[in-house]
Structures are given as C-alpha cells and as structure tokens.
C-alpha cells in the first residue's frame, strides 16, 4: 500500500481535449463532448459523474473508439490510440476493456456463457477453442461464478450474475484499464456491494485501472481516487475524491451532492439552497459562456459571455467557474450526523 502510495503511479491513459460531435437535423451539431481532458493512472480509478445527457457515455465511447472523435487525443501509455491500426490496435484493445450498464443487451442470448467470455480471447489473442476454454474455467471463479456456469445461456443468470459474466469477459484479456459505464446501476444494493468489492479486489490484486461512470455519488466516492463532474459535454470540476467531497467548489457539484445527501436536516438545508431545477439546456447549440449559467443561482453577467476555464483550487483539484473561491461554499458540518438523524 505505502509502496504504491510513494512510487507515484504512472499514467496509463491520457485524454486531451476530446471532442465528440454528432450531426443533428437541419445541419445542426450535437455537442455531446466538448473538450474533455483527464488522466488515468495505473491501478487507480477515475469516476465520472453528471446529469443524464452530460456526455459521460459518449466520453467513454470516444475513448474506446466506439464513436469517432471529432478532435482530440487519446494516449495509451505513450502511443496515440486513436491513430492505431491493424495488429497494434488489436493488441491495444486487449489492454482496455469495457463493461456496460445493461448486461443483457451486451450478451448474445444464443451463446453460452463460456463462449461469451472466450470471445475476446479468441478474437484479440487468437487462442484456440481449447486454450480459451481453459482460461474461462479459471476466470469464472474469480468473479464468483462456478466453472459449470460456462455452459449456461445468459437468460439462465440473474442480473447480478450476468454482470459478473461481463466482468469476467472484460478481465479475460488481462486488461490494464476497464471502462465501467453504469456497471452497477441496475443492480440491487446487495449485488452491487458484491460487484464493487470484486472490482476493488481485482484492482488490488492485478493493478487494474478503472474509468467508472455512475450517477451514484456514494458508489463513486467508495470506489474512485479521482472524480470528474461533467455538465453538458464538459468537465466542470475534477479532483482527488477526498478533496472533492470535502470541499466541492462548483455550484453544479453542490447541486449534485444536495440531491444525493441522505434524508435529514442537512439534506433539506442543502437542497433548499443548492439543488437546481428543470432540465439542462440542449447540447445542440449550447449557450455561450458558462454552460451552467441558465440554472446557476450565482451567475453574474460575465458568466453568460465568457467561458470559465479550469483553475486549480487545491492540489490536483480544478474548477471551471468564474466565481469559485468568491462564493461561499456549502457547510457540510452535520454531514455525519445526518445519517443517524
């Protein structure tokens, strides 16, 4: 633990100014992701949170090359991932894998679990059927499934077991990074706890890094070392988990947190003051200046004309708000009490 702590982890993935636009009707443009940058370190987890439609999944898909990036850079170790082709690309794909929200949709119902888990091995590593089956038999117990599960079809598993299957498949090629897009959101709390502990154990044992997308702040706080908050295609606050939850600085982060605080007087107080109403503006032709200005209780004229750039507010903690530091931050002092209140 301390050794890892001291030997600063090296970056595995660097995303620089990633932009993903989609064409919309009438020649307009959906600004799904607009200039997102972050770094993921070896054996560490980056959590991405934000409202529905803020561009979390599109960011993940842009990184994974499941949608074409409009511009920007994705650097895997020292190589330009977006420019890779052929054998190099196959080799790189082995090293980054993805787990999706809906385990059912991402598993072919006509194929047995064993084949599904073996698929990336055969495709990306060119293993024989036999060798792949052996690896599968080793993998299934790692995720808490019996080896016999290899002969069952997806519908014969529960939701939680299906998600374990997806994790087994993602683990098959011994990746360095797994992108989890709402991987535990559809599960009940008991299975969620089992999967979160599994992910964490795998991280400790194998040094896997995660990009973990979730709308559950408690889950993200539990699993991740760093948090990035997205709003309308941009990261508006980013920092180490402890720093972020001790002293979040962006008014939109305050809103997200207010919605997630457990019931009690603290929640009522925070909600009344910080929870924003209504829907975010359309990602088609997003507003100039701060994209949050239309819903921000602290907006001033400058916010509507000038785009706020990320500024450091604490070590490795950045906030894109003109008024960060100037407006009074929420008081969470009864944060612990609220649980038992």
């Amino acid at each position: 633990m301390t050794a890892v702590e001291n030997a600063r982890p090296r970056p595995i993935l660097q995303v620089n100014d990633l932009t993903v636009h989609f064409p919309a009707a009438g020649g307009k443009v959906v600004h799904a992701v607009d200039g997102v940058s972050f770094v993921v370190h070896e054996g560490r987890s980056l959590g991405i949170v934000g409202e529905s439609g803020s561009g979390k999944s599109t960011t993940a898909q842009g990184v994974m090359r499941l949608v074409p990036a409009t511009s920007g850079q994705v650097v895997l170790r020292d190589e330009d991932f977006l420019a890779m082709r052929g054998g190099r690309l196959r080799e790189a794909r082995r090293r980054i894998q993805m787990v999706f929200q809906d385990p059912f949709a991402s598993l072919d119902p006509r194929r047995q679990a064993g084949e599904l888990v073996a698929e990336p091995l055969r495709l990306l590593e060119g293993l024989s059927r036999r060798a792949a089956a052996d690896r599968v038999a080793e993998l299934l117990p790692t995720v808490g499934l019996p080896p016999e599960a290899a002969f069952l079809y997806p519908h014969q598993f529960s939701g939680g077991q299906r998600q374990r299957l997806c994790i087994a498949r993602a683990l098959a090629t011994a990746p360095e990074l797994i992108v989890c897009d709402e991987a535990v959101s559809a599960l009940d709390v008991a299975i969620q706890a089992q999967i979160l502990n599994l992910l964490r154990r795998l991280q400790q044992e194998r040094g896997i890094a995660y990009i973990f997308i979730s709308h559950d702040l408690g889950v993200v706080q539990h699993l991740c070392d760093e948090i990035a908050v997205m709003y309308l295609g941009q990261i508006i606050e980013q920092g180490p988990t402890a720093s972020f939850f001790s002293a979040p600085r962006h008014p939109y982060s305050w809103s997200l947190i207010s919605a997630a605080v457990p019931a009690g007087p603290l929640r009522e107080r925070l909600k009344a003051r910080y929870l924003v109403k209504g829907e975010p503006p359309s990602p088609i032709d997003p507003p100039a200046g701060c994209r949050f200005a239309g819903r921000c209780a602290f907006a001033v004229d400058r916010c509507r004309t000038e785009t706020p750039l990320p500024r450091p507010v604490a070590p490795r903690h950045f906030v894109a708000c003109h008024r960060a530091g100037e407006i009074e931050a929420p008081d969470f002092s009864s944060g612990e009490m609220a649980r038992s209140a």
Partner: protein, 332 residues
C-alpha cells in the same frame, strides 16, 4: 377509517410442469390514505409480483392461491374482469420501471393521457386535453403545451418518467404503485421525481406503494417499510424505526451494503470496505419451509433450519420481525 389498501395473507404460486412453486407466501400489509409503504429486498424477492398481484396483472402461469386484496374495502381478487379493468387506471394505477415499454411509441403524450381520462372518467375530448395539459404542468414538464403533441421518443428519460407519473395520476387514483420509478434516472432527476410524488400525494391524498432499491428514497419519502426475502415478508414496521434499528439480519445486511456519502471533514479518510451479504437469493422452487435466509445468515443456528419460517412477531408496537434470533437494538 378503513385502509385504502389491505393485503392479507397474499399467496401467489407459479405452475410448472413439475408442480406448483410458491412465489409469494402469506404477505400482509395495510396502507392508509396519503401514506407510502416501501417494498424492499434483493432482486427476485417478489416485489414486482406483489405489485402485479394487486393490479390483477399476474403474468401467465402465476396464480393467486390464497388471500385477499382489499382496495378501499373491495376485494379486487374477487371482482369480475370488467370491474377490475375499471378499477385499474382509475382507482389504482402503476408506474412501471421502464417508461419506454409502458408508453406507446406511436401516440403522442397528450393522446395517451387523454385516453385514460376519456375511458375512465368519461371526459370529452376537449376536457380530457385540458386535464392532460394540467397534469403535464403539475409534473413540471417545461413547455407543456408543445410536449402534449410530442411522441415519447422525443423526450429525455426524466421527462418520460414524469409523463408516466402524469398518466398514472391523471384519474386521481386512490392507490399508486411505483415500481422502481427512478432507477433509470440520474440523481438530480430522481430527487425531482420523488419530490413531485410527495407533493402530488399531499395534494390528492394518494396512497403509494413504492418499490425501490434506493434506501435513501425509502428513508426520505415512505412511512412504513416491508422487507421481502424469497417471497416472504421478514420485517415490517415504521420506516424510521426499521432503518435506524433493523432487527432482521437480512434487513441489517441490506442497510450495510450501500456506501454512505461522506461529506466535509468526514470525506477525508479512506472508505471502509463495503459489507456484503454472501451468497444469493434462492431461486423459485428451492425455498425451504424453514427460514430461507439461513444459508446466508451469520446468526443462524440449528433451530433456524430445523423449524418452519418463524412467525412475523411484534417486536414493538407496529414493528414485526420473522426471525428466531433477531438483532439487538443498537445501544445508543
């Protein structure tokens, strides 16, 4: 005052080639006007089945074996199909987990709300449209006039869920069943949807059965909670009491599973490992007559697997637990 909903001894089974297997066993609870009960429990414990039984919508193969379901005094398990259809969508309605499957993609939002109003409340076209518009406004859909003519696919997930709520509440039902109404939504919208349900409930006096995995929401908006395990109610009582001092080992396990958000000074430390309930819910047909939780329970003794499921016994006024060795109240 008679309760709006009174479920007594509800027993549902599934007919299989190999025989009938129990799905729900002797479930009982009551719900007063303007009150909310939460049904909680892991996936597969029978929450949706309970909802479907109340609505008279059990899937093929499932049958109500025993018990009664009184809606404002009327036993919905005994009424003729025509009466049941009249009650459904009118006196009782349901919000389903996945709004897209419940909304018809080829009709506009307005048409779908109006249909229920014309069918059940006998409103004319114009009056129904006006009421539909009022409902969309009540659920805080921006630009409601335009949205009335929108098709479901053109709405965001949060808006669709609000349309579902508008639809479910259009006929001012006495009972609303919400089956995981916010699972598909992000936290901000979730908070809005729960606030909205609470507001509309206060205004209309609707009784709500809330099915959710979100224990925060349970604490936030429900009055009582029933914990289901493998089709049986294992703990039932006032929400605050159950959440603060769960007495059934399963309930306690569930509470310990979800990570708590830590803020301010409390956010500085490293998180503790999450507690887990080892193992899985036994599938249908593999549930013993004894306590079904025993294989996963740290407090289990020989007695637990030798004797039948312990009776739901009062442990304090209104608070019942089905366990031979209930947890102690946490010392304050």
């Amino acid at each position: 005052m008679i309760p709006i909903l009174s479920v007594r001894d509800l027993t549902v089974s599934l007919k299989r080639a190999s025989g009938t297997v129990p799905v729900l066993e002797r479930l009982s609870f009551e719900l007063d006007r303007g009150r909310t009960i939460a049904l909680v429990g892991e996936s597969g414990c029978g929450k949706s089945m309970t909802a479907l039984a109340i609505m008279g919508l059990l899937p093929d193969g499932f049958a109500l074996e025993k018990g009664s379901i009184l809606l404002d005094g009327e036993d919905v398990t005994k009424v003729p199909p025509a009466r049941l259809r009249a009650l459904r969508g009118n006196a009782m309605s349901m919000i389903f987990q996945e709004p897209m499957t419940a909304l018809n993609p080829v009709f506009t939002v307005g048409d779908q709300i109006c249909e229920a109003l014309r069918l059940h409340q006998g409103l004319g076209r114009q009056a129904a449209m006006e009421r539909a518009l009022a409902m969309l406004k009540a659920v805080q859909i921006p630009a409601a006039e335009q949205r009335l003519h929108a098709y479901p696919h053109a709405l965001s997930g949060g808006m669709r869920q609000r349309v579902m709520i508008a639809m479910a509440l259009a006929c001012r039902p006495k009972l609303l069943i919400a089956d995981e109404p916010t699972t598909a939504l992000d936290v901000t919208v979730q908070a809005q949807v729960f606030d909205l349900l609470k507001e509309l409930q206060e205004e209309m006096g609707t009784a709500i059965v809330l099915i959710t995995h979100d224990l925060g929401a349970v604490a936030d908006i429900t009055d009582t909670v029933a914990v289901l395990y493998a089709g049986r109610c294992v703990e039932h009582g006032p929400t605050l009491e159950v959440m603060e001092a769960p007495r059934h080992p399963y309930t306690r396990g569930l509470m310990a599973c979800s990570p708590h958000l830590r803020l301010g000074a409390a956010a500085a430390g490293v998180p503790e490992p999450l507690q887990e309930i080892p193992g899985l819910v036994p599938p249908l047909g593999q549930r013993p007559p004894s306590c079904a939780f025993a294989p996963r329970c740290a407090r289990a003794t020989d007695k637990c697997s030798a004797q039948d499921q312990p009776p739901l016994a009062a442990i304090s006024p209104d608070h019942e637990v089905s366990c031979w060795h209930p947890e102690e109240r946490a010392v304050a």
